[in-house]
């Protein structure tokens, strides 16, 4: 990837981060921490790697994404809006009674959402089903899913891992967002799932360990998965919860609350500065 390409995707990631803050501030609730940590992954997927068309969101041949950690809907909605599935202006209606932007992803009402989610541990199984359907129908689409490092404590995740390898679902890519935090504290203290890479390896996955905030590494890992060697792929992403908003970074209490006006202004100022810097680089 050339620098220009990388900067463009970085810029999108920061716009998604700003969207996240705008959403959870207006909703006065929602999950900024884990949303901010997956912004780069979503930027690479929706703006480079995924074969999708916002004008035809139901295309049966499209690549699919299941946000298994559904509470990070603000990040997904940001990415979908930036990609043109629905107006960016609608993001301020997140979680409001008369809005289609439900607190957790709702495939019935939100263009671009491939699967409803929000109850942890189920999304990866649904992604398996989509990947299996692709095999049955002899289609070559890819299915991506994003899990949390707390979420993988659910036994169902490992049932799904066993399944994906057993059925040779090499069209499945599972990102694990290892930000080290869940609600009750650091994952290592609450319920450690380590070693995560070795577990997925033992279950029969190709495993890549990457920096979740490095555009090039994300893209390279996805490219490798697209080679399809008969095994599903797990991309273990070392990330920072709250990435991009300094006062939210690695602070557990930003898991599930909206910022107040002052906090939102400070966060947006920080993100705007970053966006400006990247825009200057991109536009030369």
């Amino acid at each position: 990837m050339n620098t220009q390409e990388i900067n463009k995707l970085k810029l999108v990631a920061y716009k998604i981060r700003k969207d996240i803050i705008v959403e959870v501030f207006n909703a006065a609730s929602g999950h900024p921490g884990g949303s901010l940590s997956i912004a780069d992954i979503l930027s690479v997927l929706y703006f480079k790697e995924m074969n999708i068309d916002p004008k035809n969101p139901q295309n049966p041949d499209r690549d699919r994404l299941v946000l298994s950690k559904g509470h990070c809907a603000p990040a997904l909605y940001g990415a979908l809006a930036e990609r043109g599935y629905f107006p960016v202006e609608d993001l301020v209606t997140l979680r409001k009674t008369d809005s289609y932007l439900e607190g957790h992803p709702d495939m019935k009402g939100i263009p671009g959402v491939d699967m409803s989610s929000g109850s942890l541990g189920q999304g990866i199984s649904a992604a398996n089903g989509m990947a299996l359907a692709g095999k049955i129908d002899k289609k070559d689409y890819m299915v991506y899913t994003i899990l949390g490092d707390g979420e993988i404590e659910e036994g169902q995740v490992w049932e799904a891992a066993m399944y994906a390898a057993h059925y040779k679902l090499d069209n499945l890519v599972a990102f694990v967002d290892v930000n080290g935090l869940q609600i009750d504290g650091p994952t290592k203290e609450v319920m450690s799932a380590e070693p995560i890479d070795k577990k997925f390896e033992a279950f029969g996955f190709n495993v890549y360990i990457i920096d979740a905030h490095d555009i090039e590494q994300i893209s390279e890992a996805v490219q490798k998965a697209k080679n399809k060697n008969g095994k599903p792929t797990a991309i273990i992403c070392k990330s920072t919860k709250g990435k991009g908003v300094s006062f939210m970074e690695n602070v557990g209490s930003w898991h599930g609350k909206g910022p107040n006006k002052e906090e939102a202004d400070a966060a947006i100022a920080e993100l705007d500065a970053k966006i400006k810097e990247l825009e200057e680089k991109v536009n030369g």
């Binding site: 979680r95 409001k96 009674t97 957790h104 942890l120 404590e153 009750d184």
Partner: protein, 312 residues
């Protein structure tokens, strides 16, 4: 009346209060201690608190094992993931062997609010009520939540508690009496009985005021125990007022309305209007707006009460 405290708060504080004297019980949570309020117990009695991580099925069967070794166990998560995710573990590992596990489910119903449909459990009372031997209770305020925990520690066997996220007015004072399976008559009336539970008790009282202004006298019951239902009180309402309205923050199928109807149909049929969510999923929004949207309002209760009276 002025104080607003969530029933989950009453539950969390009660665990600490009774934990001081009763050293035999342990508390489990599945990565939601701050939200369920078991966090108070976790802080006070670290050695008796065990987080299972995000693994509700495992938590319920672990609870069963602890109980099989003589422990009293409180196992807590959101209603959706306790009654919903772990239903079959509860059925076969807890209810069938009749083990002493108290399932403390918080964030039940529409009043979860902004998190939306995936988190608004409107089925748990139905699920839990169908399990033989399971006691099912939901408090209408934080004081009642405390009584329930006290009663739970004196009772042997599986119990399901349904607590709410939303802070709501305190209705009872500390020295009112409380008994499992005995509904509370909050207001006397002769024309119709409004039988409510949980956060809907407050709405039922408001509805009774509206009806009062029309010269209609509604009896209001706080049916905090849905199973075993207070059969005697339900029949008394049927006989003395001749019409019943039930109100709950739950699907109209399987919950309080069903429990009341079963008794009425069985022994003394009178019209029963069931108010709850009408076989729909929830949606994101502010709890007060959602109550209006789904017909869980004092106005709608009053209207349905008039309908029930017409059917007499």
């Amino acid at each position: 009346m002025a104080d607003k405290i969530a029933t989950r708060e009453g539950f969390g504080k009660a665990l600490v209060e009774f934990g001081e004297t009763n050293k035999d019980f342990v508390v489990l949570d599945a990565d939601l201690a701050d939200a369920t309020k078991t966090v108070y117990f976790k802080k006070a009695f670290t050695e008796r608190f065990f987080d299972t991580g995000i693994a509700e099925g495992n938590m319920m069967s672990v609870a069963a094992g602890l109980a099989a070794c003589g422990k009293t166990v409180f196992a807590s998560s959101f209603a959706m993931f306790a009654a919903g995710r772990a239903f079959e573990q509860i059925r076969n590992s807890i209810a069938y062997p009749k083990l002493n596990v108290k399932i403390a489910a918080t964030h039940a119903g529409l009043s979860v609010g902004e998190d939306g449909a995936t988190h608004q459990c409107l089925e748990d009372v139905g699920l839990m009520r169908t399990l033989p031997g399971m006691v099912v209770m939901t408090p209408s305020d934080a004081v009642q939540a405390r009584w329930m925990i006290k009663a739970a520690l004196e009772y042997q066997g599986p119990m399901y508690f349904r607590f709410a996220r939303l802070a709501t007015p305190v209705m009872y004072d500390d020295n009112t009496s409380f008994e499992i399976g005995k509904g509370v008559v909050l207001k006397e009336g002769t024309d119709v009985s409004i039988i409510a539970c949980g956060l809907m008790v407050e709405k039922a009282l408001e509805a009774a005021e509206i009806l009062n202004q029309k010269g209609i006298y509604a009896r209001v019951i706080d049916m905090h125990t849905i199973k075993p239902i207070d059969r005697e009180l339900v029949l008394k309402c049927a006989k003395e007022t001749g019409a019943i309205v039930t109100v709950e923050e739950h699907n109209i199928y399987g919950g309080l309305g069903s429990a009341v109807s079963e008794v009425v149909c069985d022994e003394y049929p009178v019209p029963v209007k069931i108010i709850g969510t009408e076989d729909k999923f929830g949606t994101s929004g502010k709890p007060a707006e959602l109550f209006e949207l789904y017909g869980l309002s004092a106005e709608n209760i009053a209207t349905k009460a008039l309908d029930a009276i017409k059917l007499k």
